[in-house]
Symmetry: C2
Subunit: 492 residues, 2 copies
């Protein structure tokens, strides 16, 4: 607290909350650019933006995300002393809205939402207690054409972001259920256990999955992992099934049909997958970009039909960067009729990291395209005028503010260097008199110009990438250097 102790004020230590992150411009700018591209794809498919408050009544959130989520809620009290909490996802608030505004949000209703969510779990590398979710969902769409559309959006987002190699993996809970029913594995808890084991295939490999479906195994750290205790014939059948591959989605559907037992559930599951394949075809989703994969399980309990995950073959270390599926039961928590829903969520932090890695997202540190630099006794108002002219031409331009004694040219150029500003527009007394400016590409010959204190030394240091042009041509000269260099809102 701010109090006077003797003569000395007690300072508050500036700290970020444990598990939280401050985002500086070099982090916000690429993310912002990514979200703008994603939003425009969402809107092209007719998804409309919705926003709900950060806080919800506790009873709306409890129990929706499983036992873990209950413990992870940031709980507090409203000014009216009711129990409330910060939302842990955007799906539960969406389900609440559908039940609360049934007349206004008539199905079919497509919405997108982008916003922070909070989870009080153990922080770790890349795991934060506040993170941004970015979701689309369709409410009131009983047909799997809607699931096809979700996958088409996922693929279009990747394309719009400039990614060429990506694969959406697709499966259907009904397919797995039909298989397990056919194998006599009918108890729900056992089915869920099998799903959890299959979900680990990519991580632990087929041999370990075989052991976990059977007697169990000892993991690398020496801990025992309990097995599902299925018999060998059943395990063979499951492993054979999840290994099914094919050149096209239609070929995989045909193979699934052969491998599944003869039952009503199996017929329905296959019919759904066939319809989904047709929808993807109609929506112009390439075979290379969306593949049926019977081994895809996804951890969450609430899926009831198609499930999807977006993977990047050239950046597998980032895991899946989008995921979703059909959930027909969640809204029934708030109202007395079910509303069939399907949707997906973008892992924003992961996707930003993967795209920076792949070079699809530029590591832009600043929106500024040019710094107006003054030398000698040029009046400050002249700096402001030049900046205003360049802004009038649509450029993002900064001027340097400091006390008079800190206005040396070296300080101004260090500032540009520190913040990664690509161009300096130099206005000295000569330039002012002659109606010209010097436009300098600061990325060219950067090393030479360090520690420059005055005009003469600067001139000595060489004029790599520097041109002197009439003021009326300054904007064009800057554009020639920065080109499309802008990762920011104004550059869209």
């Amino acid at each position: 607290m701010c109090s006077v102790m003797g003569e000395k004020k007690q300072l508050v230590e500036p700290r970020t909350l444990k598990g939280f992150q401050d985002l500086l411009p070099e982090q916000v700018i690429p993310r912002q650019r990514l979200l703008r591209v994603i939003e425009s794809v969402f809107e092209r498919y007719g998804y409309a933006p919705l926003e709900t408050p950060a806080l919800e009544y506790l009873d709306a959130l409890l129990g929706t995300g499983g036992e873990g989520t209950n413990k992870e809620l940031f709980r507090l009290e409203s000014p009216e002393n009711e129990p409330i909490a910060l939302r842990f996802d955007l799906t539960v608030p969406f389900a609440r809205l559908l039940a609360q505004y049934p007349d206004r949000l008539k199905p079919p209703f497509r919405r997108y939402a982008i916003g922070p969510v909070w989870r009080a779990d153990k922080p770790g590398v890349g795991r934060f207690r506040q993170f941004v979710q970015c979701d689309i969902d369709v409410a009131g769409a009983p047909t799997v054409a809607a699931d096809g559309e979700i996958v088409a959006v996922m693929a279009d987002v990747m394309r719009a972001l400039g990614v060429t190699r990506f694969v959406a993996l697709i499966n259907n809970r009904k397919v797995i259920d039909a298989l397990l029913d056919g194998c006599g594995v009918t108890e729900e808890s056992v089915q869920k256990h099998v799903l959890r084991v299959i979900d680990k295939l990519g991580k632990v490999g087929a041999d370990n999955v075989r052991l976990e479906l059977g007697p169990g195994r000892i993991d690398e750290s020496g801990d025992p992992i309990a097995g599902v205790k299925l018999d060998d014939a059943t395990i063979d059948r499951i492993l054979g099934f999840i290994a099914i591959k094919g050149d096209t989605r239609a070929a995989i559907v045909a193979a699934l049909e052969q491998a599944l037992p003869e039952s009503k559930a199996a017929r329905e599951a296959v019919a759904e997958m066939r319809e989904l394949a047709e929808a993807l075809e109609a929506l112009e989703v390439d075979e290379a970009h969306a593949r049926f994969d019977p081994s895809l399980a996804r951890g969450l309990d609430y899926y009831t039909g198609p499930i999807f995950e977006m993977t990047l073959p050239d950046a597998p270390q980032f895991g899946s960067v989008m995921g979703g599926g059909r959930y027909d039961g969640l809204v029934a928590r708030f109202m007395d009729r079910p509303i069939p829903c399907t949707g997906m969520s973008v892992g924003v932090d992961r996707l930003v990291a993967a795209l920076l890695h792949l070079g699809c997202l530029a590591p832009v540190k600043t929106p500024v395209q040019a710094l107006v630099v003054t030398m000698g006794n040029v009046p400050k108002t002249e700096t402001l005028k030049l900046a205003a002219e360049l802004r009038g031409a649509g450029l993002c331009v900064e001027t340097f503010f400091a006390s008079r004694k800190k206005m040396q040219m070296g300080n101004q150029l260090s500032h540009a260097d520190h913040y990664g500003i690509p161009v300096a527009v130099i206005l000295g007394e000569d330039e002012l008199r002659n109606g010209v400016v010097a436009v300098k590409d600061l990325r060219a010959g950067k090393a030479e110009r360090e520690h420059i204190e005055d005009r003469e030394a600067y001139r000595e240091a060489g004029k790599t990438g520097q041109v002197t042009v009439p003021r009326s041509e300054a904007a064009a000269a800057i554009r020639a250097i920065v080109g499309g260099n802008s990762g920011t809102a104004s550059g869209e």
Copy 2:
């Protein structure tokens, strides 16, 4: 909680927290458009985006916003049992960042931030406990040229939003202080009282301000309002001073110089105002768009120099839509040296309301430009294909999802009507066979088409605004109807 009671599941009542708001698409879309325009102006002036967490340690927030704010904090505990709270503004977190990352955020540093803040005060009409703030601030800019730039940004934002009549009012705390010092009103608490009374001028009028500076008065409800108890000569001098007007900023500076007592403080204050006037001139801010107004006081305590408010002469009922000023002391809470700062905050909710009122912001309800409507036995995949074609042409296009028995044309058109979709692209069996589509302007002849159940009736109802075109020309026909109709991200 979701529990089974006998056969019946107990439902959770869907409710929004008291004092909070859900924003549906018709509210989010205009606001989003507004924020994109504002962001692009901010970036044109070199402001870079920053984001901080919603939660801060309690000691960082306490005492910064005055006694009222302390009470209004949403307080909770971190998972480590430390006292934390939701931020109540974006300025205190910015001050924390400057102290926490002195090497990375070297002054001068310009940042913008847009995000929700929380205040547990009494909710009322247009007053919410969570609302969005949108701020720019420059740190480490001791010169009033920076204040001039803030005003230039305010003016450019209004221009970029299409507002033609707007006036930024500008004053300087140093001017008022010099006046009061010269009148012998030197005690800080009395000076603050005078400021609060002056701040009411627009609301209560000069006669009531005279009474409140003197003996006090009885307000309309019969309650007594204590006066400052100044003598008549001092009151005359203050009222005369705050009534100073002039045709230009320079003329007002000259008048201030005459009216202020002869003192060092007065000379400094006048010099600052003169420099500010020169900066505004250099930054091409019209006299009509930024006026010096000695009666501007602003309620907040922490301002130390120039202060500003943006007003809309054609929509005075919305009050000031932006406000700010110089505050040179706030960062000193977190570190042992002051960093001079100036900045401003946009009242996002007020500005959206004012711009909708003025017609500068379109009341767009949906991003969707066209709904693909099917008739008869056209396969669903054909609908999806047509939608994909139109999206490929850059349009925002929706298809209708429903169970087979709800796919009648009437339902599809009701859907378009309900969500305000402007165009229907109709694909029947004839159209499919002939490679054409019917493109219909749904805003033309809307009334006629209500309650249409089948194709024949629809045809009877007239074809106002409907054209049949080859599929390859469908996108152009839609654009001819919607024109620039898009208030959304993709329309930027």
